[in-house]
C-alpha cells in the first residue's frame, strides 16, 4: 500500500515549509504591533520612533492600505489593521517591515499608542445580556418541544461550561510575498484557504484577483486554525511587499501566534432533558452561548454546526435548540476540527449523564436506548438513512465486553481506596459537507506529459491529512498507472480557481472526486486511441490496468508509455479539468430544515481511565474505537486521521486549559503554560477498527470523510473521569465544566477544600511565582 507520499521527505527533513524556501537577498521581514489591552478607543498612534529604528523599511497603518481595510470572511466586521477601536489584546494596529526579523520586532516595540480603555467583556452570557450578538440567533426545533414536558417521567436540567482550544499547529502562521512585474504579487503561504487569501489580498491592495497568485505547498498542521486566520498573515506579507517594494516574509513566533490568533470557541450552555419512565428521551432543550471573540470570523458557521449536532447520536422526537454567537473582547475565535459540533455533542452527553445520575442507571444504557435508527429525523429535518451508528456501537461494545468492563471497573473500585477506574462510551454521528451549501464544489487539473508522467493540481491543500497521497492514489487508480507516475502539485490559484477551503472533512471527498473526473475524462480519450491502435471494435471494452491496455480483459502489449505517445501524436488533448459538486444537498435557513449533509460519518469509542484520587492525577489507559470509514482508501492515512483527531479531542477535554485574566490577557500563552497531549499522555492501548462492509457510494472509491468526526470520541474521557471521581466521592457535585484538569478533578473530589479556602479559586491573578 502507498505510504505517505512525502514520508521520505519528512524523515530526511527535506519537506519544505514557507520559510525554508531559498531566500532572495533582499528579503525583508514583517512584524505586527498589536493592542496591549482588550478594549479601547485609540487616541493616538506614534510610529516615529519605530520608523527611525535600525533597518526599518516601512511602518504601515490602516490609512496606508491601498484598498479596503476588511478581511471578515462572512460578515464584514474585521479590519486587517485596527483604526480607532481595538477589540482584543493583540489586535493588529501597525505593521513594521525591516531588513531582519529581529529589527522588525525591535521596531514594533517602539510603537507608542495612547488609549482610552473601555471595559472588556469576556463572558459570552454577559455579552448576550448586553446585546453583543453577531448575526442572527438561531433556533432549530422539531416536534412539540413546549408541549411535551408533561409526558416526561424524569426531567433534569443543568449547565455546561466548555473551554476553548488552541490549535498548536507545529508550524505557526507564516507567509512570504514577492512583488512581480505589472504590480502583481505572488504569495507563498501556509493556508487552508488559498482563494480566501487571494481574494482578501486583492481587496486590501485594491487589485483584482488575477493580480494575486497564491501558492501553498504544505502546512505544518492547520486543524482549522489556518482556514480563515491564515488570511491575515498572507495579507500582511503582501501589503508589506507592495508598500516596501521587496519580498516580505512574516513568520509568527509561538507566543505571537498564541496572542494574535483565535481558537476553538468556548461555550456556555443550559440544558433541560425530559425522559419517560424507561429513560427514553421525550424532549430536549438547550441554549448555547458561543464566545465568538471580537469579530464574526467563521463563528456563524460554527454556531450552525453546534445546532446540527446538538442532539448528538440520539433520537430526540421533540427538541428546541437555541444558539447565539456572542461578541467578546478575545481574539476572534475560529474554525477548529469539529467546528462547533463537539460543543453541541458535549451538552447532550452531559444531559444524558445527568439523567443517568438521576435515574441511577448506567449512563451507557441510556445512550444505547436512545441511539438513532433509520427513519429517525434530526431536528434540522434530515432523516437517518442507515444503521451505522448502531453497528459501530454494537461492534465496539462487544469487543470490549461492555457489561464485563463495568463489572471489572466496579470490582476494582470496590477493592481500591485511592485508585479508581472509570470508563465511558461515546458515539459520534457527524454530518459531512460544508453547511454553507455552495462551498461543496471543487476543481482539479490533470496533465499527462508525453513521457507518461502525470501532473495533478487540485484546490485542496496538504496539511498533514494525506490529501496528496490520496489524490495520487485516486488518479493512479483511475488511469491504471503506478502511483510513482503521479506528481501532485502545489496548490495554486492560477491553476485551480475559486477553491473552497480545505476543511469540513471534505477535502478528499470534493477534490478527490474532481481529480477523478479529470482523470476519467483523459482516460476516455486514451481508450479511444487504444481502440484505434489495437484495431478493436467500437464496442470492445478497453481497460488500462497496471500500465497496459487490455481489450475485453485480454492484455494487448500496448503499454501506457506507447499509448500516451500515440494519443499525443493523434493530436488529442492530454489535459483535463475536472469538477465536482456534492449532489442532493440543500438547506432552507428560513425554515431551518433541509438535507445539509451528503451523509453522516462517525463511530463509537470506549475510553478507560485510572485516577489517583489522592493526587488528582489520571491516566488514559485505553481507547477502543470502531469507526465508519466507508471503504478505506489508504489504511495508514485513514488510521492516522482517527488517532490524531482523538488525541486533540482528549486534550481538549482534559489538559488543554485556555485561561484569560480579567483584563482579557491570555495567561496560557505559550507551550510552557498550555499543555497538549504528548506521548506519555496518550494511551498505550489505542485500537481502531474500521466498520466492515461500509462502502459509501459518493466516494471516491467508497471512502468516507474522516478528518473531524473522531475528534469527538475525545468527549468520552470527560465522562470516564467523572465516573472515577464519583467512585471516590459519590456525593460530590461535579459540574459539567471542561477541560477536566487535574485541578478540577482534585477539587471536584474534595469540595470541602473550596469551602475552607480564603480566596476564590477562579479569581486567577497574574502569573507570579512560577
Amino acid at each position: 500500500m502507498l505510504k505517505n507520499i512525502d514520508g521520505a521527505l519528512h524523515v530526511r527533513g527535506e519537506a519544505e515549509f514557507v520559510d525554508d524556501e531559498l531566500r532572495p537577498s533582499n528579503l525583508a521581514f514583517g512584524c505586527v504591533f498589536g493592542s496591549p489591552v482588550a478594549h479601547a478607543r485609540v487616541r493616538s498612534l506614534d510610529i516615529s520612533a519605530a520608523r527611525r529604528a535600525p533597518g526599518v523599511l516601512a511602518v504601515i497603518l490602516a490609512k496606508d492600505l491601498p484598498g479596503t481595510n476588511e478581511v471578515g470572511p462572512i460578515i464584514h466586521d474585521e479590519p486587517l489593521l485596527a483604526e480607532d477601536l481595538v477589540r482584543y489584546v493583540g489586535h493588529p494596529l501597525a505593521l513594521v517591515i525591516a531588513d531582519t526579523a529581529a529589527q522588525a520586532r525591535e521596531a514594533a516595540r517602539r510603537v507608542r499608542v495612547e488609549l482610552d480603555e473601555l471595559p472588556p467583556i469576556l463572558d459570552p452570557r454577559a455579552a448576550f445580556d448586553s446585546g453583543e450578538i453577531i448575526g442572527a440567533t438561531r433556533t432549530f426545533a422539531i416536534g412539540r418541544p413546549d408541549a411535551a414536558w408533561p409526558d416526561c417521567r424524569h426531567v433534569v436540567e443543568g449547565r455546561c461550561d466548555i473551554g476553548g482550544q488552541e490549535h498548536v499547529y507545529l508550524e505557526t502562521q507564516r507567509a512570504r510575498a514577492t512583488p512581480l512585474e505589472n504590480g502583481r504579487i505572488r504569495v507563498l503561504t501556509s493556508t487552508q484557504s488559498p482563494y480566501a487569501a487571494q481574494k482578501h489580498i486583492a481587496q486590501v491592495l485594491g487589485l483584482h484577483n488575477n493580480q494575486i497568485e497564491v501558492e501553498v505547498r504544505r502546512l505544518g498542521g492547520g486543524f482549522g486554525g489556518k482556514e480563515d486566520q491564515a488570511t491575515h498573515w498572507a495579507c500582511f506579507a503582501a501589503v508589506g511587499a507592495r508598500i516596501a517594494g521587496v519580498p516580505v516574509e512574516v513568520v509568527l513566533r509561538r507566543d505571537e501566534d498564541f496572542r494574535h490568533t483565535g481558537k476553538r470557541h468556548p461555550y456556555s450552555a443550559d440544558f433541560r432533558l425530559g425522559a419517560d419512565a424507561d429513560g427514553r428521551i421525550v424532549v430536549f432543550e438547550a441554549r448555547h452561548f458561543q464566545n465568538a471573540g471580537a469579530a464574526a470570523d467563521l463563528s456563524p458557521g460554527v454556531l450552525e454546526r453546534t445546532l446540527y449536532h446538538g442532539t448528538g447520536s440520539y433520537r430526540v422526537p421533540n427538541a428546541k435548540l437555541f444558539a447565539a454567537s456572542c461578541r467578546t473582547n478575545l481574539p476572534p475565535n475560529t474554525a477548529f476540527r469539529g467546528f462547533g459540533g463537539p460543543q453541541g455533542m458535549f451538552v447532550i452527553e452531559s444531559a444524558l449523564a445527568s439523567l443517568a445520575d438521576s435515574m441511577r442507571v448506567p449512563r451507557e444504557n441510556l445512550q444505547a436506548l436512545n441511539l438513532i435508527s433509520p427513519g429517525d429525523v434530526f431536528p434540522y429535518g434530515q432523516v437517518v438513512e442507515d444503521r451505522r451508528t448502531r453497528r459501530t456501537w454494537d461492534a465496539v461494545t462487544k469487543k470490549v465486553d461492555l457489561a464485563g468492563l463495568r463489572q471489572r471497573v466496579d470490582a476494582f473500585n470496590a477493592t481500591h481506596f485511592a485508585l479508581k477506574k472509570g470508563f465511558a462510551v461515546m458515539p459520534v454521528t457527524f454530518g459531512i459537507s460544508f453547511t454553507t451549501t455552495f462551498l461543496n464544489q471543487a476543481g482539479a487539473l490533470v496533465h499527462v506529459y508525453t513521457d507518461g508522467s502525470v501532473s495533478v493540481t487540485t484546490g485542496g491543500v496538504e496539511m498533514g491529512q494525506g490529501l496528496t497521497t490520496n489524490i495520487a492514489a485516486i488518479v493512479s487508480r483511475a488511469l491504471g498507472v503506478q502511483p510513482e507516475r503521479i506528481r501532485v502539485e502545489n496548490t495554486n490559484t492560477t491553476r485551480v480557481a475559486n477553491m473552497s477551503p480545505s476543511a469540513a472533512s471534505s477535502t478528499t471527498l470534493l477534490n478527490g472526486n474532481a481529480a477523478l473526473a479529470a482523470a476519467l475524462e483523459i482516460g476516455e480519450r486514451l481508450k479511444l486511441v487504444a481502440r484505434r491502435e489495437t484495431g478493436s471494435a467500437a464496442k470492445a471494452e478497453v481497460e488500462i490496468r497496471d500500465e497496459e491496455v487490455r481489450i475485453d480483459g485480454r492484455p494487448t502489449g500496448l503499454d501506457w508509455q506507447a499509448l500516451v505517445s500515440a494519443t499525443y501524436l493523434s493530436r488529442t488533448d492530454l489535459s483535463a479539468h475536472g469538477f465536482f459538486a456534492t449532489p442532493d444537498i440543500h438547506f432552507d435557513k428560513r425554515k431551518e430544515t433541509g438535507r445539509p449533509f451528503a451523509y453522516h460519518a462517525g463511530g463509537t469509542a470506549v475510553t478507560e481511565v485510572t485516577m489517583d484520587c489522592v493526587r488528582g492525577r489520571y491516566s488514559i489507559d485505553a481507547v477502543h474505537i470502531v469507526h465508519d470509514i466507508g471503504r478505506p482508501l489508504n489504511r495508514v492515512i485513514d488510521l492516522g486521521q482517527v488517532e490524531g483527531a482523538l488525541a486533540q479531542g482528549l486534550g481538549w477535554m482534559t489538559v488543554e486549559d485556555l485561561r484569560y485574566d480579567d483584563s482579557g490577557h491570555l495567561m496560557s500563552r505559550n507551550l510552557a503554560s498550555y499543555k497538549v497531549p504528548d506521548a506519555f499522555f496518550m494511551p498505550d492501548v489505542l485500537e481502531v477498527d474500521f466498520l466492515e462492509d461500509a462502502d459509501e457510494k459518493l466516494g471516491p472509491f467508497g471512502n468516507k470523510a474522516v478528518g473531524e468526526p473522531p475528534l469527538m470520541y475525545g468527549i468520552g474521557v470527560f465522562f470516564a473521569l467523572r465516573y472515577a471521581m464519583k467512585a471516590f466521592a459519590p456525593r460530590a457535585e461535579i459540574p459539567f465544566a471542561a477541560p477536566l484538569t487535574p485541578e478540577r478533578v482534585l477539587l471536584g473530589m474534595h469540595p470541602e477544600a473550596l469551602d475552607s479556602a480564603e480566596v476564590d479559586p477562579e479569581a486567577l491573578g497574574p502569573a507570579a511565582h512560577s
Binding site: 505557526t172 488517532e643 505559550n670
Partner: protein
C-alpha cells in the same frame, strides 16, 4: 574578537565567529540556512528543533539529544553537532523507514526532530529499545497530527538494529564518516578549551539555558557578554567525598540521574526524573541553574532543599564563601548571591543511615510540565519515632520553601496517621500560595496536604494508609 568557535557540524569541521549568545537553532537556520531543523516554540516544549550533541568522554563520543532553541552556539566548542542533514544517505535508516511505514509523519514538521531523538536513543542504549525507552525519546516532542501510536510503533522495527556508534555505522544506519568523529573531536578538544572573556554591558552567565533563554532569549542573543558555563573547566562532574556528594553546578539533570553515587544517596532519583522535564531538556538543564534560577517551583531545587545542601560561591574579588541552600533564597527571585558571584560547587551531605527520601510533584500534564505543587521529605525514625525531618515544598510561597515549623514539629513524634494529618494541617499555616496559571490557591493548599500525606504513605506503607488519613482528617 575572541577565538573562533571550533566544532564539527555533521561531517564538516567548522571554525567561525559566532555571537556568544546566539542559539544553535538560529545559527543553523539563519546563519547557515540549514533548514531541516525546525522552530516550533523556542522554549524547549515541542522538540521540533532537536539535534544531537556529541561530546568526547574518554576515547568515545557520547551523543545526547537536546533542543537547539535553548542552547548557546558557543557551547558547541569541541563538540559534534548532528542535524537531520546528516541523515540524508542514499537509503533511509531503519528509524526513518519505520516512521514512514507506520504513518508516523503527517504534516512532517515535527518529524526531523523525532528522527534525531530516536537515532540518539540508538546511539545511547546498549540493549534493544523497549517501549519505555522509545517513549522517553519521544517524550520531549509534540506531534499534533498523529496521536503518537504510530510513532511508538517504530519500536517494532528496531529489534535487529545494532546500538552504539560503531554498530550503527557498521549496519549502514549512520554514514561511515561518523566513525572518524571521535578522533577528529580529540584533535579539536585539546586545542580549544578557553572560555570567551567577558566584555562590557549586560553580562549573562548561561549554564543549561533551559529557563534563562525562555525568559530572556532575545536579550541574551544580542548581548556582547555571554559566558557559557558548560565549557568552563571544573564546573561539571560528581565527586563522592566522605559525608557528602559534591556536584559541579553545570552537572545536568540526566548526569545526576545516571550517577551511581547519586543513586546510592537518592534511590528513586531515576523515577523522579521521569516526572521532570523531558530527556532533551534534562540533557541540558543543570543543577546549579535550577538552584540559581530561584523558581519557587524548581523540581530539583525542592529535592536538594530537603537534603542538607551547601553552596560554594566564588567571585573574582572576594574569597570563596559557603552558604546553606536554605539560607540562599531571600525573596521572590532574590538570592544571597552578588552579581559577580558564581556557584562553583554544590555539596549535599549524606543523610544519616536509615534516612528515607520522598519527592512528589503534580502538574497539569504529567511529563514536561511545571509543577502546580512539588514537595520533598527527608526523614529518619527510630522505632517509629521521628528523629529527623525536613519538609520542603514548591509553588506555595515566593521561594522554594523549607517548612521549618512543620519539620521541627515532627521531631520526636510517632509515625502515625494522626501525626501526618496534624503535620499537614500545621503546614497550611506556614505557606502562602497564590492563584496563578499553575492553579488556584485553594488547589495548591489542598495539593500540599495531599503530597505530605503521600510522602508518609510512600515511606511507611505499613503504618500509613490513605484510607486512614481520610478517616482521621474527617474527625
Amino acid at each position: 574578537m575572541s577565538r573562533p568557535l571550533h566544532f564539527i557540524l555533521n561531517r564538516r569541521e567548522v571554525q567561525a565567529q559566532v555571537p556568544a549568545g546566539q542559539l544553535v537553532l538560529d545559527y543553523l537556520r539563519e546563519t547557515r540556512r540549514m533548514v531541516g531543523t525546525k522552530e516550533g516554540c523556542r522554549e524547549g516544549d515541542c522538540g521540533a528543533c532537536v539535534v544531537l550533541i556529541g561530546e568526547l568522554q574518554g576515547d568515545a563520543v557520547r551523543y545526547r539529544a537536546v533542543t537547539s532553541c535553548l542552547m548557546p552556539a558557543h557551547e558547541l566548542a569541541g563538540k559534534h553537532l548532528v542535524t537531520i542533514e546528516a541523515l540524508r544517505g542514499p537509503r533511509l535508516s531503519t528509524v526513518q523507514q519505520a516512521i514512514v511505514e507506520e504513518g508516523g509523519s503527517q504534516c512532517g514538521f515535527c518529524t526531523p526532530g523525532i528522527v534525531l531523538s530516536l537515532t540518539g536513543a540508538l546511539l545511547e542504549h546498549s540493549a534493544p529499545l523497549d517501549a519505555a525507552a522509545v517513549k522517553t525519546a519521544l517524550g520531549g516532542h509534540l506531534c499534533r497530527c498523529t496521536g503518537y501510536r504510530s510513532l511508538k510503533a517504530v519500536r517494532n522495527h528496531l529489534a535487529d538494529v545494532p546500538r552504539g556508534l560503531e554498530g550503527l555505522v557498521g549496519a549502514g544506519e549512520l554514514p561511515a564518516w561518523f566513525s572518524g568523529i571521535p578522533a577528529r573531536l580529540s584533535a579539536i578538544a585539546t586545542s580549544d578549551t578557553d572560555s570567551p572573556s567577558p566584555a562590557a554591558g549586560q553580562h549573562y552567565a548561561v549554564a543549561g539555558g533551559t529557563d534563562l533563554y525562555v525568559q530572556q532569549g532575545d536579550d541574551i542573543a544580542t548581548s556582547s557578554s555571554v559566558e557559557v558555563l558548560g565549557t568552563r573547566p571544573g564546573l561539571r562532574g560528581i565527586r563522592s567525598e566522605p559525608g557528602a556528594l559534591v556536584l559541579g553546578p553545570a552537572t545536568t539533570f540526566e548526569e545526576l540521574a545516571e550517577s551511581p553515587d547519586v543513586r546510592a544517596m537518592i534511590p528513586q532519583i531515576r523515577a523522579y526524573m521521569d516526572d521532570i522535564a523531558s530527556i532533551q531538556i534534562r540533557n541540558r538543564a543543570t543543577v546549579g541553574g535550577n538552584l540559581v534560577n530561584a523558581s519557587p517551583i524548581g523540581d530539583v531545587t525542592i529535592l536538594l532543599l530537603a537534603l542538607d545542601t551547601t553552596l560554594t560561591l566564588e567571585s573574582r574579588s572576594e574569597d570563596p564563601r559557603r552558604v546553606g541552600l536554605r539560607d540562599f533564597y531571600l525573596g521572590y527571585k532574590q538570592l544571597d548571591l552578588a552579581p559577580d558571584e558564581l556557584v562553583t560547587s554544590i555539596s549535599i551531605s549524606r543523610p544519616p543511615r536509615g534516612s528515607r527520601i520522598s519527592w512528589e510533584k503534580v502538574a497539569k500534564r504529567r511529563t514536561l510540565d511545571i509543577a502546580s505543587v512539588n514537595s520533598a521529605l527527608v526523614m529518619r525514625d527510630e522505632n517509629g519515632v521521628i528523629r529527623e525531618a525536613t519538609l520542603t515544598a514548591g509553588g506555595v510561597a515566593p521561594t522554594p520553601y523549607f517548612l521549618a515549623e512543620t519539620s521541627a514539629w515532627l521531631l520526636d513524634r510517632l509515625v502515625s496517621v494522626q501525626t501526618v494529618v496534624e503535620a499537614a494541617n500545621l503546614a497550611q499555616s506556614e505557606v502562602t500560595p497564590i492563584s496563578d496559571i499553575r492553579g488556584s490557591a485553594a488547589y495548591k493548599r489542598l495539593l500540599l496536604r495531599q503530597l505530605i500525606w503521600s510522602h508518609f504513605q510512600t515511606l511507611y506503607p505499613d503504618r500509613i494508609s490513605f484510607e486512614a488519613l481520610y478517616r482521621e482528617a474527617a474527625c
